[in-house]
Amino acid sequence: MAKSSRPTAFAVNRREALMLGGAALAATASAGRMARAQTPKRGGTLRVSNGGDPPDYDVLQTATYLTQFVGAPCYSTLMRVDPADYSRLQPDLAERWEVSADGKTVTFHLRDGVVFHNGSPLTSADVVYSLERIRNPPRGIVSPRRGLLGNVDGIEAPGPRTVVVRLKAPQPDFLFMVSNPFNVIYSKAVAEPLDAQGTGMKRQIMGTGPFRLGRAVNGQIYEFERFDRYYGGPAHLDKIQMFPIRGEIERGAALQGRRIDASFFFANESVLQNLRQVQGMTALRRPTPTFINLIPQVEKKPFDDVRVREALSLALDRDAFIKTVGPLAGAFFHSMGLLPPGSPHSLSAEEIKQFGGYDTLPGLGGNLEANRRRARELLRAAGVPEGFKVSLLARGDIPAFRDSSINIAAQLKNIGLDATVDVRDAGAFYTLETTGQFELVAHSVAIAGSLPDQILGEGYTSFGGRNYGKWRDDSLDTLYRQQSSELDPAKRGQLIKQFQLAFLKTYYQINLAWVGYGAAHSNTMKGWTALPDLYANMNLHQVWLDA
């Protein structure tokens, strides 16, 4: 992950965001950017792909990128990730913000003159309604990311352009949490009556973003027209056409046949390799906050026994996993701990090596055969007989799930487990997984953001949305909350390390690899930067065509 050590005048990094506030950030933003960029050309239609039809348009109710990709050009968030530096935020609807000395009150000052696509002005009431909808949704509305605002104690609007958020405890990552690309701001006047009916914003989009949704034909096309009253100035493009294309090979063919200009989501490496050969095409792969973990269901025997879970970890050759499954599933990276590769909070080699199986990561000098002998000993000690049958639940249509499971099952046979893969369709898979009706599951967990609160909070707490293994551990949750509210960077770093060490010891989840998503675009498309986060930088305001 790209890290900036030096703050600039128009953006703020995670620490500065909280400690310095956002005053006067916007003033020099455009000047700084213009100095760096090529001169954009106005006009043209950008043609891009989506991975399929979005189930609906309600970004706040969804967890799928299919909806977020459609919503991103049309909506705004309070702040957004700086495309030039992933570790920093820049103003979006909030032109500046202040954080109180105790870190528990954040005041957002909204821009003047922002209007929704129907012409109504944005006010603080819209922001309060949207944030409350995330935190405490009305009856009939779901909120998959309510945990992001779990530390919020109250939200008020003391003035038409001022929003005050009171936190239960200081939270250095809060500004990034509230700026999650899914946390878009709705028009209260439009959303509230629809929410009261229980339908929400599923069938319409009413945002303040640089484009507004025009023609939408399910299965065919989603067309966005430039919104000339966008607060940041009209977008360079006249139009965006988004085509739902489910298959990666088909997406690659569409790019190669010049039917589309860009596709932002590839896992399959062979498709990207083909595209790299095409003249005038850029194909890249960037590390993404998505990890593939093996997750035991700890309520089921024998996985309630930590020795058995450690044995699973000892059995796995993570490098072999990447070499075989990686090209299909996009799994290309190792990490030293629970946070993404390159994180400042990565564990040292000595620290990670103390956990079973992680010493065979490249360059750490571990011995796989010795690990597997040790795994057999642990299984014997836990009373697990040779040839014990275990089942890996797998989703059949996604290589990151299916092929990962096949690879893991084969590896588990090396420690005397009779592992089989239970391949299910998406509907069955998610229901069985969510309700804990499995023994083992390999899950590719995609998270918007790579900060400790985002990754650890969603992925590794018992109250997070991804606790598929159904474990409960108050000490881990407490440790998470401690690091989350610690303002001193050095002390927080220590707490984050403690959390990782404590979690790894439990083997509630066993990390195999980190995913890097691919993207490919014609070289005529300019102004788009591939950020690690799949969801960020998709509003396409700055994108232009050099045709």
């Binding site: 998959p144 339908t199 399910n218 090979i249 046949g257 299910r424 998610y430 969510t434």
Partner: protein, 321 residues
């Protein structure tokens, strides 16, 4: 004839009722929960209470017989319900997608019939010749190659050699007939090749049998032209099983286009039904299966009626029975 049609219609309705019951039960027996899929497929912290509320809102907390009766009552009013996934009335979604599937099926069958029957007739007429040998080899290849594989080869071949890929916006036939035909010709070829091979083989086989019959020898002995013998006396009598096959394949193709539509990214019924099943979108999946079953029933009825037209003995036998 009227009694025959009524009898076939009643049996069709009974079939549809059984299909409705079966698809309803199968969708409920399948592991999976529409509420889970509607609330982010487990990707967020959704509580059990919220899931229960979603189920209650959808009526999924009711006993199965109650749900079935409610659904059947709506079907009787020709209301297929609202898709849980798209939020649109199922009938609207189907109406938007059906024309593309129908057009592919019709084009594929036209390709298959207009090339398959002549190929089969010629193959039989010149049995054992090099033409027959080549045709037999090709037809076996056509049968062996899955249509999605042919589709993928077509897509990759066209991209590789001509930098051409399938269009992404599909014009309905009534909006732009020529463009629509040129767009859907590729999936129609991918699908039609198998039907072509099937029809050619069936026609050849039946024609070989028919051409060996006494009345064919008699016709030739009368001095009739070979074309008249083969077409008027041979093909007419060989057509019955071929028509049966065409009718069956025509109906079956509606449900068999799933993968081909996905390969060419055609927004037809195939992709819709896959999404419906994967997302446990009960109204959509049930509705579309019912529609496909209706198409099969109508297809079979049409074939039965054609039987009656082609062979009056069929009508007589049915009337006596």
């Amino acid at each position: 004839m009227f009694g025959y049609v009524v009898q076939r219609l009643l049996s069709g309705l009974a079939t549809l009722f059984l299909v409705a019951l079966m698809v309803f039960v199968i969708m409920r027996v399948l592991p999976g929960d529409a509420a889970v899929m509607m609330t982010g497929a487990g990707a967020g912290a959704i509580s059990d209470a919220e899931l229960a509320e979603v189920r209650a809102r959808l009526g999924l907390d009711q006993p199965l017989p109650v749900q079935f009766v409610a659904w059947s009552a709506e079907i009787a009013r020709l209301n297929l319900g609202t898709s849980l996934y798209t939020g649109n009335p199922v009938i609207e979604d189907v109406a938007q997608r059906f024309p593309f599937t129908l057009q592919i099926v019709v084009m594929a069958m036209l390709i298959a019939v207009f090339l398959g029957i002549p190929a089969g007739v010629l193959s039989a007429r010149f049995a054992g010749s090099w033409f027959d040998q080549i045709l037999r080899a090709l037809s076996i290849g056509g049968l062996a190659a899955p249509s999605f594989w042919v589709g993928l080869l077509l897509i990759l071949g066209l991209v590789y050699f001509f930098q051409w890929s399938a269009p992404l916006f599909w014009e309905p036939f009534w909006v732009s007939p020529l463009q629509s035909l040129s767009q859907l010709i590729w999936p129609a070829i991918a699908v039609g090749l198998r039907q072509l091979a099937l029809i050619a083989r069936m026609t050849r086989s039946i024609m070989l049998e028919v051409l060996g019959e006494d009345y064919i020898r008699t016709a030739r002995a009368k001095g009739l032209a070979e074309g008249a013998v083969v077409i008027r006396h041979g093909l007419r009598n060989a057509l019955m099983p071929v028509v049966t096959l065409i009718g069956f394949e025509f109906s079956a193709l509606f449900g068999g286009l799933i993968v081909t539509e996905a390969v060419f990214n055609v927004p037809g019924l195939g992709q819709y039904v896959v999404n419906a099943i994967l997302n446990r979108d009960y109204p959509a999946a049930q509705g579309i299966v019912l529609i496909l079953a209706g198409i099969v029933v109508i297809g079979n009825l049409t074939v039965d009626l054609l039987y009656g037209w082609l062979d009056p003995r069929t009508r007589v036998r049915t009337a006596k029975a």
